[in-house]
Amino acid sequence: MKVDQLSIFLENRAGRLAEVTRILSESGVNIRALSLADTSDFGILRLIVSDFDKAKENLKAGGFTVGRTTVVAVKVQDQPGGLHNILDMLRDAKINVEYMYAFVTQTGADAIIIFRFDRTDQAIELLQKNSIAMVPGEKLYKM
């Protein structure tokens, strides 16, 4: 149920983000989901891509510092309370969400939320026990 996320270190200056998308575009890699966290000096770009290994290899060759992070993709019904239900359950189990970002699928019926937990394995176990739908990596990359 784990998903590989690509994390990229970016200096906070013009053109760095475009350099990442240029490399991905030239490698024929598609971006499924992304989020960007930033400070005044630097940012961390987090990506779910169609081909993790190819993206990582080419970005490294392009001089970027890249890392692999394990995240979890959760399918949430696109209706009020959908996300709250899940967060409630995590709180009771004292599992911390380090960060999260969401995107809506093409069918539009569900939202997919990418979670970075402090304790990934326990989180997956908890979500499974509560029959929360997760999207495995292989499926997500091809979406």
Partner: protein, 435 residues
């Protein structure tokens, strides 16, 4: 005023005779008492009796800062510890500081030399000296303190820090002489202004500034803003501390070296050969009278040149030009010596960091600022902002702890640091352009 007319105005011929006598005595002393020098002299086949003229100084070995470190803490002392009455030490990471010791006579000589300096700067007995050099292991505070007492001035041993309080006491006590680093003088002025104190209206008339390089434009700024005469003082703890050389207020062109105590040379920093008179090179000192830790041909890494022409102030001693640069890559940040290699050591000891870094030094307002740019490699990288910020503050904390200077750390992308011919450019010092 000349404090020590007899020694400061000796005809040069007599001065050189005195220097030779003292040099011969010095070589005999270190040969006898310092195993490091005896070994070095034996290796060169030089015996004390071979020193027959001042130019024979070139037979003697150089001493480097590293030699003091290698003999940490007291290995180069020439007298037993019981005869040392005081220890000082320069900045450095733990275990790498350079330690110096003074005998009772060294302290007395030093006090007299600083008194000469204060007098050359225009101070006299009855003056009120606000001494804002740091007191402690650093030679600045106590060095000036003893000299001011020797001169017969009243010393306010305020030391560094507590700037608002300093401004208040400067006004309330009515000090006439200020001693500190030049950048601190400007900082103090800003603080005073904020408190509604105009230093130009206070009795302060002289500032004696040293421990960091400064330019003539900075002198003009200080003189205008504080309404004082600003004088450059030179010294280094290995040789003695502040007071090795001083500008005279009358001419303010070059710093008079205390030549009866120190033999100065200018050498080519690459080859070690003496430079022609008047040429710029590395300043080298031999301590002629020091007992605690006498040094032969100590390489200061400071670039300067010597002028032996008579000075209008009446002193006959040679003048060294204001230090124009350094022959190595040492930085002076707010009076603290910083070597890039020390930063490198700290980065390597801070988990997971490659030694790819760059130091950017700027002067904003009147204070030096140092930014340490560090390349983030995979081992140090995290997908979480908080971890990277923690890394930044850890580096800042370690630099503060080990070097005693405040630096701002900034993480950059790999290869984000400019490299020329494969070699990273480690230092960008923008203070000169700004000054």
């Amino acid at each position: 005023m000349i404090f020590d007319v007899e020694n400061e105005t000796l005809p040069r011929e007599e001065l050189q005779k005195l220097q030779l006598r003292r040099l011969q005595d010095l070589v005999a002393r270190v040969y006898e008492n310092v195993p490091f020098y005896r070994k070095k002299l034996d290796e060169r086949g030089v015996k004390p009796e071979h020193i027959q003229s001042l130019s024979d100084v070139s037979l003697l070995p150089f001493t480097e800062k590293q030699d003091l470190r290698n003999h940490y803490p007291f290995g180069l002392f020439a007298v037993s510890r019981e005869n040392i009455v005081r220890i000082h030490s320069s900045s450095g990471t733990t275990g790498k500081a350079t330690v110096v010791g003074y005998t009772r006579r060294d302290i007395k000589n030093w006090g007299q030399m600083v008194a000469r300096c204060l007098a050359a700067a225009g101070a006299h007995s009855g003056d009120f000296v606000h001494n804002a050099y740091g007191y402690g292991l650093f030679t600045g505070g106590l060095g000036v303190h003893y000299g001011a007492e020797e001169l017969g001035a009243t010393v306010i041993p305020i030391s560094g820090g507590g700037t608002r309080r300093q401004a208040m006491l400067l006004r309330d006590f009515g000090a006439t002489v200020l001693t500190c680093t030049p950048s601190y003088a400007l900082h103090l002025n800003e603080a005073a202004k904020e408190m509604g104190i105009d230093i130009r209206e206070l009795p302060l008339r002289i500032g004696i500034f040293g421990a960091e390089p400064w330019t003539d434009s900075m002198r003009n700024e200080i003189e205008n803003k504080l309404g004082i005469t600003a004088i450059d003082i030179y010294g280094l703890s290995e040789i003695m501390g502040p007071g090795v050389a001083i500008e005279c207020a009358k001419v303010k062109k070059g710093l008079h070296i205390q030549e009866d105590h120190f033999l100065a040379e200018i050498i080519d920093p690459e080859t070690g050969d003496p430079m022609k008179p008047g040429e710029v090179g590395e300043l080298v000192f031999t301590t002629l009278t020091k007992e605690g830790i006498p040094l032969l041909r100590y390489r200061t890494r400071d670039l300067s040149r010597l002028n032996t022409a008579p000075c209008r102030c009446g002193r006959t001693t040679a003048r060294m030009e204001r230090v124009t640069g350094r022959s190595d890559d040492m930085l002076i940040i707010r009076g603290v010596n910083v070597f890039p290699s020390q930063i490198e050591t700290i980065l390597l000891e801070t988990e997971g960091l490659t030694p790819h870094y760059q130091l950017i030094v700027t002067r904003s307002g009147n204070l030096d600022n140092m930014e340490v740019r560090v390349e983030v490699d995979e081992a140090a990288f995290s997908d979480q902002i908080k971890n990277l910020q923690r890394l930044e503050s850890k580096i800042e904390k370690n630099i503060k702890e080990f070097l005693g200077v405040t630096a701002k750390c900034k993480l950059v992308e790999p290869k984000g640091i400019e490299r020329s011919e494969g070699k990273a450019k480690r230092i960008i010092d923008m203070r000169k352009e700004q000054a």
